[in-house]
């Protein structure tokens, strides 16, 4: 995990976006961007990117995780979020934070309707993780466009 001071110093020196792309260049692709996000935000235990129709585009889930099941559930959460947005007269949800006893599930909407999802521990600094996810969003989006 990166300490606050090291993190602050690094962010001030290079800017968060620059940091993401610099690391992204070394690992490349969507998987690389997710690995970067996981490395940047130590509270993230696993993360994934879903397309607008719920297809898994990339993931940094732990070994032995049932990916299809996890994907279906993340897609269901994204749809629920959109439903709540519509019920409240809004177009979209830009981010969703769900708290459970065992951790948080965080969703950040991508421009094309896809979702960047992350799972954290219960004691995670959720605000900081969401900040990192929002910063990573553009890079993830670019990778998706590159792949498409």
């Amino acid at each position: 995990m990166i300490g606050y001071n090291a993190r602050l110093k690094r962010d001030l020196n290079s800017g968060m976006g620059a940091c993401m792309s610099e690391q992204g260049d070394t690992t490349g692709g969507l998987e690389g961007k997710l690995e970067d996000l996981k490395a940047l935000s130590g509270d993230i235990r696993s993360c994934a990117v879903l397309s607008g129709d719920g297809e898994l585009k990339g993931t940094r889930l732990g070994d032995g995780v049932e990916r299809e099941r996890a994907t279906a559930m993340l897609a269901a959460l994204a749809k629920l979020s959109e439903r709540v947005a519509r019920e409240n007269g809004k177009e979209h949800t830009s981010q969703t934070r769900i708290k459970t006893d065992d951790g948080h599930v965080l969703l950040v909407r991508l421009e094309d309707g896809g979702t960047l999802a992350a799972m954290t521990n219960p004691d995670a600094r959720v605000g900081l993780v969401l900040y990192d996810m929002r910063n990573a969003r553009d890079e993830v989006q670019k990778s998706l466009q590159g792949e498409g």
Partner: protein, 70 residues
């Protein structure tokens, strides 16, 4: 004297029952803690509390995601 004590006991019982009923009602009406927070594209936020059906829809799925995803 006995009559007075009986009345005091009865009054105590009534007050105790009223307090218990009120406490139960307050507890059952409380929305619970914030379980879900949504931020919309216009920057406004919406919170769902743990006792609401909507929040439970989210947390039921999220709990399974955390269980299998971590």
């Amino acid at each position: 004297m006995k009559k007075v004590l009986r009345r005091v006991a009865l009054l105590g019982l009534l007050i105790g029952t009223a307090v218990a009923v009120r406490s139960y009602l307050e507890k059952s009406e409380a929305p619970g803690e914030e379980a879900v927070q949504l931020v919309f594209d216009d920057g406004s936020t919406h919170a769902l509390y743990s006792r609401s059906v909507e929040a439970q829809e989210f947390t039921d799925i999220a709990r399974k995601v955390v269980e299998i995803g971590l």
